[in-house]
């Protein structure tokens, strides 16, 4: 009875929620669960008994405090772990329990969201890692590697949320040292540019001198270049090393055979017979027998037959033995039989250790005399007639041994008409300091790793008895220096004093003042700060430091100071106020460029003109049209769609040989390219759900089986009506992320769709749910396994919503290729396949949304998702707000989201409509 009384009281208190199911978006537990608590919990956790000092009868059904949230969390945890209700007590029905867990976990998400909400207040934000890098670039004209700075993500939310951007002593010091690095780089660049200007019209004093050091492995090990701005390596020069290597192999073999004969002769001598017989008994083969040659008397050493040049791993004794084996000599001879060796070299397959012979790639180091700067790398090449379509791509990377591919190029050149591939690149001091300055080229996917490369090589040997065909012919590789465009370092220009030590600088403070002004993005540098900087410079000068050293050191302090590192918007407590023009300029440019405002934008901010709606829109358009908007595309999309998962695992290449490094790289680029396309053309956001076109290049089109696409540039390609491609769900990367590189995960995919496309994120994976081991070792389809796992209430509460969507996407394999069958192989506890315990099944995609419409296949599922473009647009708007103004969103932002949606709808959901609506909103203008 008592319980009932309490029940009535609380019912009265929360009557206003009694109708309407709002439990999913408010921190409110639905009243229907009170019965379960009453029946199954209150007898031990109520007014009479409080086992574990815990009561559930007085739990508030509207969660408004951290304390209440903790209590409910405890209920959720205890039920999820199966601890409550205790096994020997009365159990709720599975359905009631599932529903309660479902609502409670969602209520907890809502509670956490409400409780961590800041009432719309935007916390002052530190430049994140990307912005810091870009801000240095805009100020000093150089890009530095900021990877050593701690990552800005991990605690949830975007890397623009001031609340989650921390600062520490270490980091503070890192900012100064990275700033110094950028300054060093900028000073060097500036000196080089000066030098180039001076010598532009003069003949070099020293005669042009280019020298290539070619190693016996056919690779260019060093390049010296004085007084020239271009080096070209004619690749045929390298072939001589291959022919010499084959001669050496023949010679080695002949001498090794002579040694074998000598050993055998010695062993046959009567006085050695006993020893030899004994040795042969224990030796597995003749090689092993010969290893013991020293035990046979009067036997000549292998070294008396000369030096053997190979990569014998067994040490000295195996040198001659090793020379007897094949050592890929047939392949080397095949290489030498290729046509046009007098004018070029081939990219083939690695045979021996690259120290001895490296046929898999060709490398060209940047000449040692050349420092940081901009360069172009060119390769003149052709694919021979035998080249298969997938071989007609060239990979370029830095550091041949362990470097990843940086770019991939389509090869259209033929032996009659070779082509030139060009890749601009920048060399920074940090790169040259680490010695990483060697460019390499390779056939796409030929040798991404040893497992995969070895497998391919073996396949070819099986096919032709020799090895992979060498089909990419390289005429030459060259590197050319490109002059720096003048005035690319506004910070240095602002200084207005010489940077080198040639002339005396008497008055430093005005220069420092100007630099600070340029660095602080419109904020006035405090006089006291400039004075302290001046003193810092003077002290160093007095201590004997040269001008340029003292200057760089002093300027690095500016780059570690709060006015540089933070985007501050002063405001009185609790008072919201409109942003000033300068603040708005900063907010806009960091939103759309992840970089500081340029002169134009800052001037409009300073004059206040930017506060006018039409000017602001013009500027928004201008910023979006600028190249720098790519930083928005990458920064936003990568985080919005959770793309960090791409780097969490490796693809199993023996299962998916076609998903090589180049394909993976380009598949990732597709996502950005597609979003950039929408942005550029103000195309509808809903194209990301379903579209009759894709944005791909030749390489990716091949992967998707789309014909007729040429070139490395991503381009709009129309799709036939029955294509599964088009929109995010047609992209390989999205499906790759929804698996583990080996198998698909309908759960990962379902969660992703709910989170990113349908704006209905499931609660995070709960802690302490008992793991299900009863299904292990059973021969089940993926679907059967997941459905059986839903028999547990703790699992079903979320998975009944998640899994069906994933089932609908099962036609995409772990790398996003279309498939109709799947296989499961049971493995034993040593990870070895169990014989007979495997199953192959035809994929069934028919399923239904939880309490929603059914679909029979992927295409119907896609249509159902596409029909929910409003949900998608709301989720997108939420993400855009969080990214753009740097705070999490709360329920109070619903009107803003609606506003954005309404505005965008006027433009057929055009992507720019969302951005413009956000920029025009009051929130965007308010501190």
């Amino acid at each position: 009875m008592r319980c009932t009384d309490l029940f009535l009281v609380s019912l009265f208190m929360f009557m206003y929620v009694a109708n309407g199911d709002e439990s999913t978006d408010r921190a409110i537990m639905h009243e229907r669960h009170r019965a379960l608590l009453k029946t199954n919990c209150v007898s031990c956790h109520g007014p009479e008994k409080q086992k574990g000092k815990f009561r559930v009868d007085d739990l508030p059904f509207t969660i408004t405090t951290v304390e209440a949230a903790e209590k409910w969390q405890k209920v959720l945890n205890a039920m999820n772990s199966g601890e409550m209700p205790p096994e020997d007590e009365k159990q709720p029905t599975n359905v009631a329990k599932t529903d309660l867990l479902d609502d409670l976990s969602n209520a907890m998400v809502a509670a956490r969201r409400t409780l961590s909400d800041q009432n719309g207040v935007i916390t002052m934000r530190r430049l994140n890692r990307r912005e810091y890098k870009n801000t240095l670039r805009e100020l000093l004209g150089v890009e530095i590697n900021v990877a050593e700075l701690p990552s800005d993500t991990g605690t949830g939310g975007f890397d623009t949320a001031g609340q989650n951007l921390f600062m520490s002593a270490n980091q503070l010091e890192q900012y100064q040292s990275l700033g110094l690095q950028a300054l060093e780089e900028a000073f060097t660049r500036s000196a080089v540019a000066d030098e180039e200007r001076k010598t532009a019209n003069k003949k070099p004093k020293t005669p042009e001198l280019v020298k290539f050091g070619i190693g016996d492995n056919r690779q260019v090990g060093s390049v010296t270049a004085k007084g020239v701005s271009k080096v070209r390596f004619e690749c045929e020069t390298a072939n001589e090393k291959v022919s010499r290597f084959v001669e050496q192999q023949n010679d080695d073999r002949a001498r090794a055979n002579a040694w074998v004969k000598a050993v055998n002769d010695a062993a046959a001598k009567p006085e050695n017979l006993a020893v030899a017989t004994e040795l042969r008994k224990t030796a597995k083969n003749e090689n092993e027998f010969r290893r013991e040659w020293m035990k046979i008397s009067k036997e000549p050493s292998q070294s008396s037959f000369g030096n053997f040049k190979n990569d014998a791993t067994g040490g000295f004794v195996d040198l001659a033995n090793r020379a007897l084996s094949a050592n890929w000599q047939k392949y080397h001879e095949y290489y030498l039989s290729r046509p046009h060796l007098d004018q070029g070299a081939y990219l083939a397959t690695p045979t021996l250790h690259p120290q001895w012979m490296a046929l898999g790639f060709l490398q060209l180091p940047v000449p040692g005399e050349w420092t940081s700067g901009n360069y172009v790398f060119r390769v003149r090449l052709a694919a021979t007639k035998e080249a298969r379509p997938e071989q007609k791509f060239l990979e370029i990377g830095m550091h041949p041994r362990n470097g990843m591919v940086r770019a991939t190029f389509e090869i259209t050149g033929t032996m009659d008409k070779p082509q030139i591939v060009e890749m601009p690149f920048t060399l920074t001091k940090a790169i040259t300091d680490s010695g990483d300055r060697t460019l390499f080229i390779r056939e796409k996917g030929a040798w991404d790793n040893n497992d995969e490369g070895g497998r391919k090589r073996q396949e070819a040997v099986k096919r032709n008895g020799i090895g992979p065909e060498a089909v990419l012919w390289i005429d030459y590789m060259e590197i050319e220096r490109v002059s720096d465009p003048a005035g690319s370092a506004p910070g240095l220009a602002a200084l207005g004093i010489p940077l080198d030590n040639t002339s005396a600088v008497t008055e430093i403070k005005p220069a420092l003042q100007r630099f600070c002004a340029a660095a602080f993005r419109g904020m006035e540098p405090p006089a006291s700060f400039v004075a302290k900087l001046g003193a810092l410079y003077d002290t160093q000068r007095k201590g004997g430091a040269k001008h340029s050293v003292a200057l760089k050191e002093t300027l690095s302090v500016v780059l570690a100071s709060p006015m540089f590192l933070y985007l501050a918007e002063p405001a009185a407590d609790g008072k919201r106020r409109a942003l000033t023009g300068i603040e708005l300029a900063n907010r806009l440019s960091y939103f759309l460029w992840s970089a500081p405002p340029d002169d134009t934008l800052l001037a409009l901010g300073k004059s206040g003109a930017l506060l006018k709606a039409d000017v602001l829109m013009q500027q928004t358009t201008r910023l979006l049209d600028d190249e720098r908007a790519q930083d928005f595309v990458h920064g936003f999309v990568h985080q919005w769609l959770g793309m960090d998962r791409i780097d969490f695992f490796q693809v199993n290449r023996s299962m998916y040989p076609r998903f090589d490094d180049s394909t993976k790289l380009n598949a990732k680029k597709e996502v950005f390219a597609t979003f950039a396309h929408l942005l550029q053309h103000n195309a509808p956001l809903s194209d990301l759900l379903k579209a009759d076109y894709v944005i791909v290049n030749h390489l990716l089109a091949d992967f998707y089986g789309i014909e007729g696409v040429k070139g490395d540039a991503f381009q709009k390609v129309s799709l036939p009506p029955n294509s599964p491609r088009g929109g995010l769900l047609g992209m390989a990367t999205i499906h790759f992320m929804g698996g583990n590189g080996e198998h698909t995960s309908p759960v990962e995919r379902g969660v992703w769709v709910l989170r990113k496309l349908l704006n209905n994120p499931p609660p995070p994976a709960p802690a302490n749910v008992p793991q299900i081991a009863r299904l292990a070792g059973k021969v089940l389809t993926t679907r059967e396994r997941l459905q059986m796992h839903q028999q547990d209430a703790q699992c079903a509460s979320c998975h009944r919503k998640i899994d069906p969507i994933g089932f609908g996407l099962e036609n995409f394999d772990a790398v996003g290729q279309w498939r109709t069958e799947d296989t499961y192989q049971v493995k034993d506890d040593k990870g070895k396949p169990v014989k007979g315990a495997s199953k192959t099944w035809k994929i069934e995609t028919n399923s239904a949304f939880y309490k929603g419409p059914a679909f029979k296949d992927y295409f119907e599922l896609r249509n159902l998702i596409a029909a929910r473009s409003d949900d998608f647009a709301r989720g997108f708007s939420t993400a855009l707000i969080e990214y753009g103004i740097g705070r999490s969103t709360g329920f109070r932002d619903d009107p803003l989201i609606t506003e954005m949606l309404v505005a965008a709808k006027k433009e057929k959901l055009g992507l720019r409509g969302f951005i413009q609506a956000l920029v025009a909103s009051k929130e965007f203008h308010t501190k």
Partner: protein, 430 residues
């Protein structure tokens, strides 16, 4: 030329002058060679937990006579010298992928209204505040060289969190760790002193800038800038310490400098960091250390191709995931056993061993999968008076922080409480 003492007196050092009673080996790093070896505290954390069916001893058979499990088998030779503690957890932990973030703090991520992430001081830093006064480094945090968190540690820059619950950075990988400890500054003393003055002027300048910026900031923003100001204060403290130690030469490294080739090989990295920890103790460079161990690169070094997160979810398929998980357990136990061998073999000045003078906790906030109860915990070392050689079963859901508090008290750091602790655990005491 001014003497070192003179310089220090004249520069108003905040921290008391080190006294050099002895010029023994130890004086390279710590202020004085203690008559009895100092007590040290070490935390070793691995992200993704363990295989719970084959790692834990039988929970129903507490005591010294427990049967060794396959996961712990490599530790058998040390059975008398460590205890497995069962039943511990951090009650506020809800993040199934955060094996280290709150392991040593027991914090509630959501404790602060208006914030979506909150942490509090980690146990090692509580110890460092007291034990760190006498050594060159108040504490040292080691990480692996892994670039992203595929090892299940969760947010953080190391295992350590400072007094305001902000992340503390660490040395990423053995090469950086070795450098921090042993690479000598060859700059002449006078120049070092000038440099120190210059660094103070730098702090002075940025402080001035911060104060200008601070004017007019709202409360929330001020709290953010406070992190910056705390950073300045921390560097200030560090500079004072550097000043204090400037004339004291770096100790000669008792071990060889690790090569960069080890980087990325998880197994080698763990071994090397263990060696560096021993070297750090031999030279008394610090008395408090944490190590956020690599799991992802440990797997690759064992030639295991299963993704580390997948491995921790072996339950529904077993097979290669379970195999990977168990091989990981064994490798980790082997590494720990090797570490214990060396700790026992390394002698102190008074004839005792390092093992006698450390308190070491080894574990993770994650048991397995997303399970955050009965966190795997091994306690070892004789410094804290912990009962060794037992399978200790505490009441279910005892706060991990109670164990940390017991360790802290055991080594003489008498904090009244830590995190969500409710007291010390008597069962843990010898």
């Amino acid at each position: 030329m001014k003497t070192r003492r003179h310089f220090l007196q004249s520069s108003a050092a905040i921290i008391a002058l080190p006294a050099f009673e002895s010029l023994g080996f130890r004086s390279f790093a710590s202020t004085a060679a203690p008559a009895t070896p100092p007590k040290r505290l070490i935390f070793l954390g691995f992200g993704w937990g363990i295989t719970d069916t084959t790692w834990y001893p039988d929970i129903t058979k507490p005591g010294a006579e427990y049967a060794m499990t396959t996961g712990l088998k490599p530790l058998e030779r040390h059975k008398k010298d460590f205890s497995v503690v069962q039943g511990l957890w951090n009650k506020y932990s809800n993040e199934g992928h955060w094996g280290s973030t709150m392991w040593l703090s027991g914090a509630n991520r959501y404790a602060q209204p208006g914030q979506s992430f909150h942490n509090s001081i980690s146990a090692d830093q509580v110890a460092a505040a007291q034990l760190g006064l006498k050594t060159r480094f108040a504490s040292l945090q080691f990480n692996s060289s892994e670039k992203s968190d595929a090892s299940g540690h969760g947010p953080g820059l190391s295992m350590a969190w400072d007094v305001s619950g902000k992340p503390i950075g660490g040395q990423n990988g053995p090469v950086a760790a070795f450098h921090r400890l042993f690479v000598k500054d060859t700059t002449p003393l006078s120049q070092q002193q000038a440099l120190l003055i210059q660094r103070r002027s730098v702090l002075d300048a940025v402080l001035d800038n911060a104060k200008s910026l601070q004017r007019g900031l709202a409360k929330n923003d001020n709290a953010k800038l406070e992190e910056y100001l705390q950073g300045i204060r921390d560097i200030e403290t560090r500079l004072t310490k550097e000043q204090q130690w400037m004339a004291v030469p770096r100790p000669p490294a008792p071990i060889k400098e690790p090569g960069a080739t080890a980087l990325g090989n998880g197994r080698e990295e763990i071994e090397l960091i263990y060696d560096i920890m021993i070297a750090a103790m031999q030279t008394d460079s610090t008395r408090v250390m944490t190590f956020r161990q690599p799991v992802a690169s440990l797997l690759t070094s064992l030639d295991i191709k299963v993704h580390p997160h997948d491995m921790s979810h072996y339950h529904t398929t077993l097979g290669e995931k379970l195999d990977a998980s168990q091989r990981r357990d064994i490798a980790q136990s082997e590494l720990l056993a090797g570490f214990l061998d060396k700790l026992k073999a390394t002698k102190e000045a008074d004839g005792s061993s390092l093992f006698d003078n450390i308190a070491l906790a080894y574990g993770s906030n994650i048991r397995t999968g997303h399970e955050l109860s009965n966190c795997p915990t091994i306690l070892t070392g004789r410094a804290a008076g912990i009962k060794l050689g037992h399978n200790i079963v505490t009441p279910k859901d005892t706060p991990l922080c109670n164990a940390w508090l017991t360790l802290l008290h055991g080594i003489g750091v008498n904090a009244p409480s830590h995190g969500d602790s409710t007291g010390i655990i008597n069962e843990l005491r010898a």
